[in-house]
């Protein structure tokens, strides 16, 4: 019952005109960047971080949530209409959705994607509403050793799951950890890895690293391999709505997609790729129309789209309750919290209930807003695709530069942009995952602080790190993550 009254208070916050305005700004921006290539939600939020100086925290997070959800709506539109999934999560949508559009059923595909996203987003938000306070309650009892073990688990799962190679995943992670060490040590005040450069004393800002990797690295990479997208936008015929048959075939995949997406999205390293793939496979198995798969089956759009949206709500669970980011977007949201001097985690629910519940309520509002924004207006949105690539990428670099310069007006940051941008290029060429860098950068300092606090409590005895049952469980799972692929290979070799 308490959750309900808190949620009602959240709605009071989210429905204030100023917050509705920010939700609208976020949803519009999110949809736009979801449609445009070269720019995703993490980069957009990083570039919007400067507004945190002039906007109240609740409004800012409501806007960020709009960007996060909006990007997924926009991503499904491009997947269906031009067969270019903007993000990993909409890859599966392109598979069937684009075929549907080619067969003249684009309107139904867009409708099932949008309505499915709405349904799944709402279910996931409901789950978040009830699960988050419960997990936050448990997290109250976490000791430093538990937190340290949890970050180790997050690191390991992220490095193993993201990308194609474990070694490269871990290299990305350790690069992030190293970047996170630069600056004044918070516990002793000593400068570390600054090599006498005063501009480095404050450390590397996540926004600088993220924008350099995602914007500059991407621009360098795409410029070197630019291929004009020849696939045309498929015109939509008729009204965007679904027939009775479409509804009948969509509602179950929506529910199944949501129930896959939310829990997997909440796991570290879960992301949106795995649940959407699982949902697609599941729908393909369960369908009564197997002959349509590969030729435009509506279930193949409905399920993965729902899973994708639910996974996005899932990442908010570890972020809000434990302060644990599990994706690049979550990492930048954590940075936004830190900009306001807030630390997500169990205490946030008691110290800032207005913010937390306002944010959760705004997810319901944002979903409804996006449905209205996207379904009737899809024709206007796709016009964004007529921005020519040279000017689009030029614009992205301009905003990236301003975003980085605006952090501290520091030339060191601008030089870092070039170096890290080139690193981002090399990482794309040699297929290193990018997100672990950001996770290492933002979680590294936390992991170190918990490690040192835990060890200090035991006068430096490392046994302290496994002194609680939870820490043992977390570390064991982390070890399993690391060893499972090896063991599986051995088993297969013996079989």
């Amino acid at each position: 019952m308490e959750t309900f009254s808190l949620l009602l208070q959240g709605f009071e916050v989210a429905l204030q005109p100023i917050n509705l305005f920010w939700a609208l700004v976020g949803s519009v921006l999110g949809t736009a960047i979801g449609i445009l290539p070269g720019i995703g939600p993490a980069l957009t939020i990083a570039l919007l971080l400067p507004v945190t100086i002039s906007v109240a925290p609740t409004s800012a997070f409501i806007m960020f949530a709009g960007v996060l959800y909006g990007a997924m709506y926009g991503g499904s539109t491009t997947s269906i209409l031009i067969n270019t999934p903007g993000e990993a999560g909409s890859m599966m949508t392109a598979l069937e959705g684009n075929k549907m559009a080619r067969a003249g059923r684009g309107a139904s595909a867009l409708a099932t994607a949008a309505i499915g996203s709405f349904v799944a987003g709402t279910i996931a938000t409901l789950a978040l509403t009830f699960a988050a306070p419960a997990i936050a309650e448990i997290a109250f009892y976490f000791r430093p050793a538990d937190y340290f073990a949890l970050t180790v688990l997050a690191f390991t799962s992220m490095a193993v799951v993201m990308g194609t190679s474990r070694v490269r995943g871990f290299i990305s992670l350790f690069l992030g950890l190293a970047l996170g060490l630069i600056g004044i040590d918070q516990m002793t005040g000593q400068a570390r890895l600054t090599f006498g450069v005063p501009g480095l004393f404050d450390g590397m800002e996540l926004a600088v690293v993220l924008v350099s990797l995602f914007a500059v690295g991407e621009i360098l990479y795409v410029a070197s391999r630019y291929r004009k997208n020849s696939s045309e936008i498929i015109p939509i015929r008729g009204q965007i709505w679904m027939s009775r048959e479409d509804w009948k075939r969509s509602w179950k995949p929506w529910l199944r997609g949501a129930s896959l997406g939310f829990p997997i999205g909440a796991l570290p390293g879960g992301g949106s790729e795995i649940p959407t793939m699982l949902s697609y496979t599941l729908e393909r198995k369960l369908t009564k129309h197997p002959e349509e798969f590969g030729k435009g089956a509506i279930e193949g759009v409905a399920g993965p789209e729902a899973a994708n949206n639910a996974a996005a709500a899932g990442i908010l669970i570890p972020l809000l309750t434990l302060g644990l980011p599990t994706s690049a977007t979550a990492a930048v949201l954590l940075a936004a919290f830190q900009n306001y001097g807030l630390q997500p985690g169990p205490f946030l629910f008691s110290s800032n209930p207005q913010l937390v519940w306002g944010l959760i309520a705004s997810l319901y509002v944002g979903n409804a807003m996006l449905l209205v924004l996207n379904l009737p207006l899809v024709g206007i949105w796709v016009r964004l695709l007529s921005i020519p690539a040279p000017q689009l990428y030029g614009g992205i670099l301009v905003f990236a530069t301003i975003g980085i310069w605006g952090v501290a007006n520091s030339l060191v940051d601008v030089i870092a942009m070039v170096i890290i941008g080139v690193a981002g290029y090399v990482m794309r060429v040699y297929d290193f995952p990018i997100a672990p860098v950001l996770i290492g950068l933002i979680l590294g300092p936390m992991a170190e602080q918990q490690l040192r606090t835990a060890l200090a409590a035991g006068q430096g005895n490392p046994i302290m790190l496994v002194s609680t049952p939870l820490s043992v469980i977390f570390l064991t799972i982390a070890a399993l993550f690391l060893l499972a692929p090896l063991l599986l290979r051995r088993l297969r070799a013996n079989a």
């Binding site: 290539p37 070269g38 400067p50 100086i53 002039s54 194609t164 190679s165 070694v167 871990f170 290299i171 350790f174 950890l177 190293a178 060490l181 040590d185 516990m187 002793t188 000593q190 570390r192 090599f195 500059v216 991407e218 621009i219 360098l220 795409v222 410029a223 070197s224 391999r225 630019y226 291929r227 004009k228 997208n229 020519p388 040279p390 000017q391 990428y393 030029g394 670099l397 301009v398 530069t401 301003i402 310069w405 605006g406 007006n409 030339l411 601008v414 942009m417 070039v418 941008g421 290029y425 794309r428 060429v429 040699y430 297929d431 590294g444 200090a456 035991g458 006068q459 430096g460 005895n461």
Partner: protein
């Protein structure tokens, strides 16, 4: 996955070379930088047991170890498949002129943003990136970049962000 990924290229960029030894070397070198930095830091504090240097040592050692593992993988013939993204295909051969033009666009702010301000820097960077992507309408790009940079400057300044004056050298 594209099967016709490029088989050879120069190191330092372009498509994946079959034996990018320098990549493993670079990771090890970065690890050594960390270890060098850790060298001058106390590893243990009196009461805490752990000093500010321990984590740096751990991360540095980790990077060295991972660099060695990467070298071993490279020796075994690990394949590196460039990532596919929107507007770019990993299987295409790298166009180094376009790459260097885009890189120049990223370097421009280092040279100009302090003295010449955001709008002017935006104009140059925008035009260079557009050129890297094949635009040859340089005058139009310069004008577009200048307008975009000025509007962005106005917007961010209005939002209360400190991004310097409009054209610092001229005192505006």
């Amino acid at each position: 996955m594209p099967s016709n990924w490029p088989q050879s290229d120069t190191a330092g960029g372009g498509a994946a070379a079959p034996r990018p030894w320098w990549l493993g070397g670079l990771v090890i070198a970065l690890g050594c930088v960390c270890l060098y930095g850790a060298f001058s830091l106390p590893q243990a504090a009196r009461y805490a047991g752990v000093g500010p240097g321990l984590f740096v040592t751990l991360v540095g050692s980790g990077l060295v170890l991972l660099g060695l593992l990467l070298l071993m993988q490279i020796a075994r013939g690990e394949k590196f498949v460039p990532q596919d993204t929107e507007d770019a295909s990993g299987s295409d051969k790298a166009d180094m002129t376009a790459f260097l033009t885009a890189l120049a666009a990223a370097i421009v702010p280092v040279l100009t943003i302090e003295a010449l301000g955001v709008p002017f820097t935006a104009m140059l960077s925008f035009t260079l990136v557009a050129r890297a992507f094949g635009s040859r309408k340089t005058v139009i790009d310069l004008i577009t970049g200048a307008i975009l940079g000025s509007l962005a400057w106005l917007l961010f300044t209005q939002l209360g962000l400190q991004i310097g004056s409009f054209l610092p050298l001229a005192g505006i």
